[in-house]
């Protein structure tokens, strides 16, 4: 019997695909964002609300990930933005190779901003690099302020942390300060945004974050 040392990362095929995508996005100056949350936190609502402001100035597209249906793609198209749907069947996350395959459907080499809406799930998507510049973790006040502690790997993968449905905060036992504090115990550099897609509170700051990202990416491409 012989022992062979390997010491190779297990997700290496996905990591290689993601590295290729990252090079391509860099060359094209495409700011790429991966949005992750539980199902029903408001990922698509957030996009519906902010894409209007962004798509009037920039070339924007969305890749939607769900197990089934084209509902989210249709919602994005209604606000006048190019969108393509990935139906994963049963898979709980998106992989880099699927993103690469869908890029031609949204003029993927001529974008200022590409938003990937991942499958609603606070566990698996954090394991898969998609070549993105930033990960957004979205949480809504109906979910509980201890979620960062319960799903630490997701919050550790995040760059910004958005708390949605803040208009409902008076009706639920969700302590916003505690949620932010819990998230920062996992990752101290997380930048937080408190919003309501319903009342549009705080959305201007999120739009501003996207614009800063788009401009920064242009400068380094």
């Amino acid at each position: 019997m012989e022992k062979i040392e390997i010491n190779q990362k297990v997700l290496s095929k996905n990591d290689m695909d993601a590295a290729e995508l990252r090079n391509r996005f860099k060359k094209n100056g495409t700011f790429t964002v991966n949005i992750m949350s539980s199902p029903g936190s408001g990922k698509t609502s957030l996009l519906e609300k902010i894409l209007g402001a962004l798509s009037s100035k920039y070339n924007v597209a969305v890749i939607e990930g769900d197990l089934q249906t084209e509902n989210d793609k249709e919602r994005i198209e209604k606000v006048g933005v190019k969108a393509v749907q990935i139906q994963t069947g049963g898979a709980c996350h998106l992989e880099a190779a699927e993103i690469e395959k869908k890029l031609p459907f949204v003029d993927g080499d001529n974008l200022d901003l590409l938003i990937i809406e991942n499958v609603g799930n606070l566990v698996c998507p954090s394991e898969y690099d998609l070549g993105q510049d930033a990960n957004i973790i979205l949480l809504s006040v109906t979910e509980g302020d201890d979620k960062p502690l319960k799903y630490p790997t997701m919050f550790f993968a995040g760059d910004i942390f958005i708390i949605n449905k803040v208009d409902l905060a008076p009706y639920v036992d969700f302590d916003i300060n505690k949620a932010v504090e819990n998230a920062k115990k996992i990752k101290s550099t997380l930048e937080e945004f408190i919003i309501s897609c319903k009342t549009e509170e705080g959305l201007d700051k999120v739009i501003d974050w996207f614009e800063r990202g788009i401009l920064a990416k242009k400068q380094c491409s």
């Binding site: 019997m1 012989e2 040392e5 010491n7 630490p152």
Partner: protein, 113 residues
Amino acid sequence: MHETGIAQSILDIAIKTALENGAKKINNVAVKVGKMNAIDEASLRFAFDALKEETMAANATFEYIDVPLTGKCEECGYESELEGYFVLCPKCSSGRVTILTGNELEIAYIDIE
């Protein structure tokens, strides 16, 4: 739920390496899993055992090596295992902690014959 895909990647890498080394079969696959990965050991073992059937790893054992979450504080220099999943210095509570171990998800080695 994503453990199946990870188990398949592990098997693919193990089999490819074994063939490159002229092996007939794989007796053991050792995998290092850092705590910061959202991996369930039982699910990963289950998937590995299901997928290995009818491959050269059909009789291989699966060695799961847990890697703790450790970090170095950039403020006070303290190196230690971190409590829970908190990337906070246990000594001075700073959040400026560089992770030393705990992100690993890699095949360490295989035993072949």
